[in-house]
Assembly symmetry: none
Homo-oligomer: 192 residues x 4
DNA sequence: CACTAAACGAGACGGTACGTCTCGTCTTGTG
DNA sequence: CACAAGACGAGACGTACCGTCTCGTTTAGTG
C-alpha cells in the first residue's frame, strides 16, 4: 500500500537545481544562498530545506546529472595517445562549462569544510574515480593487450589527471595543448 | 618631516597573524572570522580592518612567512631522482603542517572568489612558481649540464607537481610514496 | 433527494474541540495552533479547515457547550443579596475552570483582532449578556416586586459584573470574597 | 573609568517606539511585527533585539511615556462626585487614544501569555494601581476629612474602575455617560 | 452490488515572521 | 591618532505555522 498525498514535485527539483547552477555561474559560490536559489526558482525556502540539507547538497545534485556526462570517457577510437589527449581536452573543456564550474566550486569548498569534502567524495569523486580508472584501463588494454594491475593503474591515473587539475585548481586557467599532449605521452610511456 | 602619533603596532600584527593561523587549524576556514580573530588576538575589530581588507589577506600574510620556507627547494645534493623525490616528500609533508593547511584553505577559497584567487596568485603562487621553476631547473642543469628552455621547464614543473596537488586537493589525502617516486622518475625521463 | 457519501464525523468534531481545549489549558493560546490541534486530535489539517475557519472558531465552539452552563444563573433561592453573591462566586470560580480559561483567552484575543471580537460577541457575549440581564432582573423582581426598566437593568448589570471581570482581566486574579459581597450589596442598594 | 565606545542611540529608541505605536494603531497587534517595526523605523532587526526582548516590551516602553499622563488623576477641584466623574470620563477617553489602544492590546495579550502578563503588571499596572488608590483616596479624604483604610480603598477602587474596564474589554465600547455617573455616585455612597 | 461523491489521512507547497548570527562600517572615549 | 569597545544597518540563516492544494483510501448513500 503506497502512501497517500501529493508526491515530490519533479518540476521543483529541476527548477531548484537550475537556479543553483545559474546563480553559481553568475554570482559565484558565496552569493549562491538558499534564499537566492529559492527566490530564483520561485520556490519557498522550506521546500528546499525539505529536500536538501545545504546548498552543497543542491550543487552536488546538480552535478550528478551534468558532470557524469561531461567527464565521461569516450569509446577508444584511435591510437592510445589520441584517445588520451582527446580525453584530457574534454576535461579541460569541461571546466569552462557551467557544470565544470560547479565541480570547481565544490572542490574549493571541500578544502574548507570536512563535511562537504566527505559529501563530495561520496556523492561524486569516488564514482568518477572508478570511471577514470576504467577509462584509462580500457585504453591501455586495447593498446597493449594486457590489463594493468590496480596499483599501477591508480598511479597512472594520478599522473595523467594530476597536471590538468593542478593547472585549473592552482592557477585558475586551463592547461595548454602542449601540456596535455606531454602528459598523455608520458603516461603512456610508463604504461607500456 | 616624519609624522607624529603612535605607529602601527608590530605586536598586534603578530598577534593577529597567530590568532588567524590558530583558528584556521583548530576550527577551519569558515569559523575563522574577523570577529573571532579579533577576540582571540585581544584586539579590536576596527584595528584589523585598518590594516587588512579581509581574512584572506591576513592568512596570506601569515602564509608569507611560513610557506616560503616550507616549500623551498633544498640545494641539490644527490642524484637528480633523489633530489626530486625528496622535494616531493617535502611538499607532501608541508600540507600536514599548519602553514600547509593555510595554503590549502586559501587555494580552496580561491575557487570560490575571484578576488581572493587574484590575491593569492599575486601574493604567493606566482612567487612560488618562480621558485619551483628555478628549483627544478637547477636539478636538471646539474644532471644534464644543460639549462632547459622556459617552455619545457614549465611543462616539466606541471608534470612534476600536478599529481601531488591533485591527490591533496581532490582526494584530500597525501600522495603515497610510490606515486611520488614514479612522478619524479617520469619527469626526469622527459627532461633528458 | 439527499446527497450521497459520508457525513461529517461527530467523533472528529469532539476530538478537535477537546484537543483545542486541552492545548489551550496546557500550553496557552499562542501554542494552540491548528497544526497542534490536528496532531493532538489525530486529524488532518484540511479536515479542520473544512469545518472551522480559525482556531478562534474552534474555541468558540468549545466554549458554547461549557460556558453556558458555567455562567448560568441559578434559580433565585434565598435573599437577593445571597443570590447575587452566590452568582458572583460562581463567576469567579468559572474563570479557574478550563472553560473559563478559554473565555479569558478569547476575550484577550478579541482585544487584538476585530474579527475575533465580532465573532466572540455574536457567538457568545451577546447571548450571555441577555442571560445576565435576565438573571439579575429576576432577582430584583422577586425582591421588589417590580421589573426594572431596561436601561437601569443594563447599568446595574455593568456595576455588578464590572469589578469581577476587572480583577480577572486586569490583574489576572479572582476577586476576593469581600469585594464580591460589597459589589452585590451596592448593586442592590441602587436597585431599590 | 566609564566604558568606551558608542552609546545607545536615543533617536533609535524613539523611532522604534513611534513605529510600534503607529503600526499598532494602523494595523493592529498581530500585524505589529518586529520586522515591520524595524522596517518602519528604518532600523536593523538586530538593533531591536539588542534592546528589547519582544514586541510586548517595546509596547510597554511606549506605554510608559504616554499612559502615565493619560491615566493620571487631576487635582481635586470640585465636588467629589464631579471629580470622580471627570476622572472616569478621562479614562473612557483614554481608550480612544493611541496610548489607550496600546494598553488595551497589552491587556489583551496578557490574557494569552503569562510572561507578558507579568511584564505588564510589573511594568505598568501595579504602578497605575498605586496612582489610582492615591487618586481616589485623595478625593475621599478631601470630602470626608478621613483617610479610608487600605482595604476599603482597594475595594472602592475596584468598584469604581471595574465597570468602565468591563465595558471596554468585554464589549469593546466605551461606557456611556450614565454608567460613569452611576458608578461614581455609588462608589461615593459606599465611601462615606 | 456496483457506482458515485464526499470525508478523511497525509503531507507538499508558497508564504511570512521568527529570533540568531556574522559581516563590515561607524561612533565614542582613553592612553 | 591608534586603539578597545561595541552600536549599528544589512541580510542570510534554519524553523514554525499559516492556509491552500493534491493525492489515495474509506465510507455512506443511491440506482
Amino acid at each position: 500500500m503506497s502512501r497517500t498525498g501529493p508526491r515530490r514535485s519533479e518540476s521543483i527539483r529541476v527548477a531548484v537545481l537550475n537556479a543553483a547552477d545559474d546563480l553559481l555561474v553568475e554570482q559565484g559560490f558565496a552569493a549562491t544562498t538558499i534564499e537566492g536559489i529559492a527566490a530564483r526558482a520561485g520556490v519557498a525556502k522550506q521546500t528546499i530545506y525539505r529536500w536538501w540539507k545545504s546548498k552543497v547538497e543542491i550543487l552536488l545534485d546538480a552535478l550528478a546529472d551534468d558532470a557524469l556526462e561531461g567527464l565521461a570517457w569516450a569509446e577508444p577510437s584511435g591510437t592510445a595517445a589520441e584517445d588520451l589527449t582527446a580525453h584530457l581536452h574534454r576535461i579541460a573543456g569541461f571546466f569552462q562549462e557551467p557544470a565544470g564550474q560547479v565541480l570547481q566550486a565544490l572542490l574549493g569548498h571541500a578544502q574548507l569544510d570536512q563535511g562537504a569534502a566527505a559529501a563530495l567524495r561520496e556523492g561524486f569523486l569516488l564514482r568518477q574515480r572508478e570511471r577514470d580508472l576504467a577509462g584509462l584501463g580500457a585504453i591501455i588494454e586495447r593498446h597493449t593487450g594486457r590489463t594493468p594491475d590496480e596499483e599501477n593503474l591508480a598511479r597512472l591515473t594520478d599522473l595523467l589527471l594530476g597536471p590538468i587539475y593542478y593547472r585549473v585548481l592552482v592557477f585558475g586557467e586551463p592547461a595548454d595543448k602542449d601540456l596535455l599532449e606531454a602528459t598523455a605521452h608520458l603516461t603512456l610511456k610508463l604504461a607500456i
